[in-house]
Symmetry: C2
Subunit: 230 residues, 2 copies
Amino acid sequence: MEERLPAFDSAFSIDCVIFGFEAGELKILLIERNEEPFKDWLALPGSIVKQEESVDDAAERILYELTGLRDLHMQQFHTFGEVHRHPQGRVITVAYYALIRINGQKELRPITQFARKAFWHPVNDLPKLAFDHSEIFHTGFNKIRRRLNYLPIAFELLPEKFTLTQLQGCYEAILNKKLDKRNFRKKMLSYGFLKELSEKQKGVSYRAAKLYKFDRRKYFKIFQNDVTES
Amino acid sequence: MEERLPAFDSAFSIDCVIFGFEAGELKILLIERNEEPFKDWLALPGSIVKQEESVDDAAERILYELTGLRDLHMQQFHTFGEVHRHPQGRVITVAYYALIRINGQKELRPITQFARKAFWHPVNDLPKLAFDHSEIFHTGFNKIRRRLNYLPIAFELLPEKFTLTQLQGCYEAILNKKLDKRNFRKKMLSYGFLKELSEKQKGVSYRAAKLYKFDRRKYFKIFQNDVTES
DNA sequence: AGATAAGGTGTCAAAATTACACCATTAAAT
DNA sequence: ATTTAATGGTGTAATTTTGACACCTTATCT
């Protein structure tokens, strides 16, 4: 197979919707673009797929180069292929989402000059984004909302040890609606995949809550019946 | 924007998983390829996206050219982007599914020479397919299985007038398991989106069943709360 | 008339879901 | 020391949904 860079008027790219949960809010990663087109605009982390890498591999590389984040589980969710979605040529983009614990995260630092900076932004107050990235975000958000009840979405957003109130807050942020506390706890605990720790929350100015851990193995024993992400 | 055909070593294509239901069996459309690579192999209908058409438009055109079928609702479900999935170059493919009533359908006749013929084949006995088309089929099949309970999948496969037994058979073919007759009927009728006709089934050598019609508007009133296909 | 094949129907138990309110605990403020 | 503010933590009852299960009816064919 001949080695040749793709003609820029026909290329594929990756765009990433990376979700985090912090201070009771759902957030996504944005970058400030440092190159045309849409220089200085806010955008999803995204770039062009190279000739000798799979689309899945490209997703990981691109996220790393633009944000410094590595080893996320990137999940493809849709491909956007309108003719004029990119002002400089024919570029279709494969969109991925991923979930990450913001808390313990190192500083976000773009490796390439393509992004001036990367930062978290609450999903409820997003500015206009470059390209069709607003639409891409909404599609991705809908995906995780749909999958919340059969994939461990919330547990990948929360710290390793979390309280039931934090867990509920995470569900509420994703679903954008209030849930009943007693029913939520009853149901979550009934599954049996939450392990109660002897530890308690620290540094709060009110009664400290019990901490729980997520047991991924038990979770998948329960939900594996279904076809999961395919 | 410059007009140029994509270099063949970097292109995007469409592949289509078209489902039909006939004689109690779930089937998909296959073509017999008439060109290299994989000449003479069986394959999903698929081809290269043109420079000046969106991916969604390409899906409709390509299906038409290879099978003569038109005006289907094509639903994108996954993009396959392994480096070597196409032996002749870098081609990522966007996969679509669609659902169609086989019964009233005109003859399948490829418009281009690219396919020698197009035909229905039961999903339960598929031969090896060209490229990674077997994987694409499985991914698509899983998608419709997942969506069976909140999208009118079965009703797009059945003729306009159908019996409850046919409906159940369609569900069973997609889920690949037997369902309880009384519970199935109770549930389906309880939704209220099935309209009982005064007509009955004809031409059967046993007691004729009542015919029903699907009321799409009522269906979506019930299921629209959810984020549907996005 | 009898055989064959599918049509059509109801009940009960178990499980899951929903609505709903108050006392307990902790740290901070006074 | 007491009070205040904020969240933690808990149970019951009604309703809805699900799942298991068997027999008579109707139409056609021979």
